[in-house]
């Protein structure tokens, strides 16, 4: 029974932790993790919110010939369209048949929503006898056209209703995004999903699995026909593909980093202490901390992001330190849990508070995602301190007494010889300065995007699509928002003026505005009367088309336009603008203009001269106009993080130096601490110059964390050295071991994030792990020797470094 109860408790805690992990909800939205005062971040978030429909999957088809791709796309579209249960609609490059069959509502709406002057011109053109002249002209064009396509288009549209007249400069049509490459060898399909909640990535993943299964089956049959030149390759991108990938990536990150940390820390603990039972309790305590923190986090935040998901591993690595302190104290001074808490409780409490404060300082960063990570770790550390003090302390007392003497291992390496330590203290910073000045100045990566996934088939397919459909002249979307459509037109005009000035200044190459496709309440009201008159002319116009020699097919578009006008006028109440009806028209306009409860938005396409610069962004953006530009976002983040470092880190350094001066009351010890920090920083600088390790806008935020942890280690070691009168051997065996274990476990926690899906989190983990190892090395191996150099007469034992260690 005495054995069963503890086992049951351990199992219960583990089950609770697993349930907490399984229950946790992940948010696949990465745009809310960016600083929202940047126009680029707002633009990306708005594009995602207003124009990236959650249920819109993009399937790419790539083949050896235009025919293979065209036929494969038609075949796949047909196969998918039959799956009515989970696919609402399928859209591909609009061809003549679809324009004739479904384009009527779009053409009709364009006239209804266009300028009244333009509609008046149409009315004159369609009046008798000008309408007959238009038909004769069309027949002439059909007869004389050199290219068959022109003749064909005109034959389906004899009254030229799809010709909206000369567009004002810079005004774009609905086909801002082509769906077929110019060579025809690449084409995309938009698949509108249905039947699941597309805001839940787990449901999206299930839906995507179904679609991919269906497409795989189709692909097997298509490519299995034996004709190699007809084979195609298929890719998936768009919101469902990204959501599924990010969601799965986050689940994987959480699982792998937590398991890896637990395994490595267990191995470390076992190597050091050679005991299994306390290790099991230690793991149970860590799982308990994770379960409690996750539960609180879920209540506070609701969902974990792609970045904050990394908190668990960091937390594991840091909170285990408190258990080690308790356990080592219990080994040295056996007693009751209460006496143990009295002895080390204050130290653990202060350490937890100061470490939590360092992580909370991430709130001063401009990246909300990083701030969230900091808050979660800070919360977890406080929970961890409490769990270890009240949950693990009794276990430590109980099992420390059972430990055999022979199980103690002297595993911490000796301090460096004084002379060598002194030389290294000078050489390493000098090497860092030389590397930075002569070889390569450490700079923040220009094109880094912290939330980009390392391995993302959806991103690969997306980039391929952009390259094949847009080539080198890639446009950047801008989002214009307003409270209503009337105001949206005003904002578009203001944007047009700003972008014209930017064009004149050579900042922007081109701008395509969507004016015609934004519902215009005033135009619609004025056009209603003219359209009523045109509708009355409908039967005459159809009769004239028939008499001119056109078939029923040749009249279909005209008939559909007239019917749609009737439909729109029935809907029009003179107050609210009418939006286009019909799946093709609705889908086309929804790509450009969208409406939510309290906001309307339109997308503008523009081509900046230098996309990664920010001058063009500031020239055209305001509160209502934002750009979804990743290149300039990278620049903006780097600028912002650089400012953050100067504004936060430098004052923090000055303040802490002053505090340390008060604490130490010794300029030598103050100098040694600063030297230790400088040494750790130098090691990282050298590594960033000589290895692939580099700084980016995300991992650079790890500097304050490294600073805090390095400071912590130095303080512990210096005070231990003071207490022992400079007895390096004694300090190494007690505090040296504790700091070494804490450093290694923290490095394990951060290092496990190297496997994270998001580039930013992964690079943060690597830099912090390396930095912590450097700090540990300095604190345990070098600092004692430096102390002896700085305090040569403090104790005879100080001189024993050359003999003992």
């Amino acid at each position: 029974m005495r054995r069963v109860l503890p086992a049951a408790i351990v199992i219960l805690i583990s089950v609770m932790a697993v349930l907490a992990i399984v229950r946790v909800r992940f948010s696949s939205d990465v745009f809310e993790l960016l600083p929202q005062d940047l126009p680029e971040a707002r633009g990306l978030e708005q594009i995602n919110r207003y124009f990236s429909r959650d249920a819109q999957l993009i399937i790419t088809l790539d083949g050896q010939s235009a025919r293979s791709v065209s036929e494969a796309t038609a075949s796949l579209a047909s196969a998918l369209s039959q799956q009515k249960v989970f696919i609402a609609d399928v859209f591909r490059e609009v061809d003549m048949e679809r324009i004739v069959a479904e384009g009527g509502p779009l053409v009709a709406w364009a006239w209804f929503n266009g300028s009244p002057e333009r509609l008046a011109l149409l009315k004159r053109r369609l009046a008798h006898p000008q309408s007959k002249e238009t038909l004769e002209k069309s027949l002439e064009e059909i007869n004389d056209a050199f290219d068959t396509e022109s003749a064909l288009v005109r034959s389906y549209d004899p009254l030229q209703l799809s010709q909206f007249g000369s567009n004002p400069e810079g005004e774009g049509g609905p086909s801002l995004d082509p769906m077929r490459s110019s060579s025809g060898k690449f084409e995309i399909l938009y698949v509108e999903g249905s039947g699941v909640d597309f805001s839940d990535y787990r449901e999206v993943r299930g839906w995507l699995d179904k679609v991919q299964g269906l497409v795989s089956q189709w692909l097997k049959e298509w490519n299995g026909t034996g004709a190699e030149d007809m084979e195609v390759e298929v890719g998936y991108t768009g919101t469902p593909a990204f959501m599924s990938e990010v969601g799965a990536g986050m689940e994987r990150d959480m699982t792998i980093s937590v398991l890896l940390t637990l395994v490595l820390i267990s191995a470390l603990f076992f190597l050091v202490h050679r005991q299994v039972t306390p290790l099991i309790w230690l793991l149970a305590a860590m799982m308990g901390i994770l379960a409690i923190t996750l539960t609180i986090a879920e209540m506070a935040l609701g969902e974990l992001s792609v970045i904050s998901v990394g908190f668990a591993a960091i937390l594991m690595g840091l909170s285990v330190d408190y258990a080690i302190v308790l356990y080592r104290e219990a080994l040295g001074n056996p007693g009751s849990p209460r006496t143990l808490r009295r002895a080390v409780g204050p130290g653990i409490a202060w350490a937890a508070v100061t470490t939590a404060a360092v992580f909370l300082s991430l709130n001063l960063s401009s990246l909300p995602g990083l701030a969230e990570l900091g808050n979660l770790v800070a919360l977890g550390i406080l929970v961890g301190a409490l769990v270890m003090l009240f949950g693990f302390a009794p276990v430590a007392v109980r099992f420390a007494g059972k430990r055999s003497r022979g199980s103690a291992r002297d595993w911490v390496p000796s301090s460096m010889r004084k002379g060598a330590a002194g030389v290294v203290a000078v050489l390493v910073p000098l090497a860092a300065i030389w590397s930075a000045l002569m070889i390569e100045k450490p700079v923040i990566e220009a094109e880094f995007h912290p939330f980009r996934m390392k391995e993302s088939p959806a991103l690969i397919a997306w980039n391929e699509m952009r390259e094949k459909l847009h080539g080198e002249s890639q446009t950047t979307p801008a989002v214009i928002t307003a409270a209503n459509f009337g105001e949206l037109h005003t904002q578009l005009q203001a944007f047009k003026q700003r972008s014209s000035r930017a064009q004149e200044a050579g900042l922007i190459e081109s701008v395509i505005l969507p004016d015609s496709w934004v519902p215009h309440p005033e135009y619609q009201r004025r056009n209603a009367k003219l359209l009523r008159a045109l509708i009355k002319e409908g039967p005459r116009l159809l009769s004239e088309i028939d008499e001119a020699g056109f078939t029923k097919e040749g009249m279909d578009l005209t008939r559909e336009v007239i019917n749609s006008w009737t439909h729109y006028l029935d809907q029009h109440d003179g107050k609210q603008p009418v939006r286009p009806s019909g799946s093709l028209a609705k889908w086309t306009v929804d790509q450009i203009v969208t409406e939510s409860e309290d906001m309307v938005a339109a997308v503008v396409a523009l081509t900046p001269v230098n996309p990664s610069e920010r001058e063009w962004v500031t020239a055209i953006c305001d509160d209502h106009s934002n750009v979804a530009s990743l290149p300039s976002l990278g620049t903006a983040l780097n600028e912002r993080i650089g400012d953050d470092l100067w504004k936060i880190f430098v004052p923090m350094l000055v303040l802490l130096t002053a505090v340390l001066a008060l604490v130490y009351r010794s300029w030598k010890d103050l100098f040694l601490t600063l030297l230790a920090l400088c040494f750790g920083g130098s090691v990282i600088v050298i590594l960033t110059v000589w290895t692939p390790l580099s700084w980016n806008s995300f991992n650079v935020c790890g500097i304050p964390l490294l600073f805090g942890i390095g400071l912590d280690f130095s303080i512990h070691m210096l005070f231990a050295l003071r207490r022992s009168g400079g007895d390096i051997g004694a300090v190494r065996k007690r505090m040296g071991k504790a700091v070494a274990f804490c450093g290694l476990s923290s490095a394990v926690g951060f290092g496990s994030l190297a496997t994270a899906s998001a580039d930013g989190l992964s690079s943060l983990g690597v830099v912090c792990a390396i930095g912590i190892l450097a700090n540990t090395f300095v604190a345990v191996i070098l600092l004692p020797s430096w102390y002896c150099l700085a305090h040569p007469v403090s104790n005879s034992a100080a001189d024993s470094v050359d003999q003992v260690d």
Binding site: S65, A66, E97, N143, F146, T148, S155, G554
Partner: protein, 221 residues
């Protein structure tokens, strides 16, 4: 017995029809090479043709006569005109395509390389060897019918836009091109029948670079 005989005759006629229309893709390359060999060495060409357009959206068939000149000596010069007197003139010199409408005195210039127009097949000239043919077209198959070979192809790249199948009809005996048939995706079709072909005629530069005096620029699309 009479009924059986009748059915047998139908069967025989069907089999022969099938044979007549047999897809000879395997031996298609030979037919194509034979046609291409007739183009080899022909640098200058004048073709009088009849263009027949059958559009799904029109009740009647449009029939027009026209002339085509090609000169491959100095780049790919080309002139196509339809009607007599000409109603539309199209020339290609180097990489520029010029479309003229003499009746309305309008013209339009565009880069020839950007044309998605299926008739730009003509403007680029006919292929002269198998490699050039393969570069421009994907061979779908060759069928024999009434003393002709129908070489069915799909243009490669953007010229394939809207085209279901393009057919070069050559004479079985000599392999000379007789007509070009174009079937579009909506079921419409266009046939260009070669009425008279003259090889190596004397051509003046003015033919390919017509005088635009009095014309104004327009957009015909």
């Amino acid at each position: 017995m009479q009924r059986v005989t009748f059915q047998f005759l139908i069967l025989i006629s069907l089999i022969s029809g099938v044979r007549l229309m047999a897809d000879t893709k395997g031996g298609g390359e030979q037919v194509v090479r034979r046609w291409l060999s007739t183009n080899a060495g022909v640098d200058v060409l004048k073709v009088e043709f009849t263009q027949i357009r059958k559009l799904t959206s029109l009740k009647s068939v449009i029939r027009q006569h026209g002339v085509l000149w090609m000169d491959r000596r100095a780049g790919a010069r080309f002139r196509w005109q339809i009607g007599n007197p000409p109603r539309t003139i199209v020339t290609r010199v180097k990489d520029e395509l010029l479309v003229m409408r003499p009746r309305s005195l309008q013209y339009e210039k565009s880069p020839a390389g950007e044309s998605k127009n299926s008739m730009a097949i003509l403007a680029g000239g006919f292929p002269r060897d198998w490699e050039e043919f393969q570069k421009k077209y994907e061979l779908l198959g060759v069928k024999s019918l009434n003393g002709t070979h129908r070489i069915n192809v799909q243009p490669r790249g953007q010229l394939a836009h809207g085209v279901r199948v393009l057919t070069f009809v050559t004479g079985s005996a000599k392999g000379i091109l007789q007509s070009i048939d174009l079937t579009l995706r909506d079921g419409s079709s266009q046939q260009i029948v070669f009425d008279r072909v003259v090889t190596g005629p004397q051509l003046s530069d003015n033919l390919f670079e017509p005088d635009l005096t009095g014309y104004r620029a327009a957009n015909f699309k």
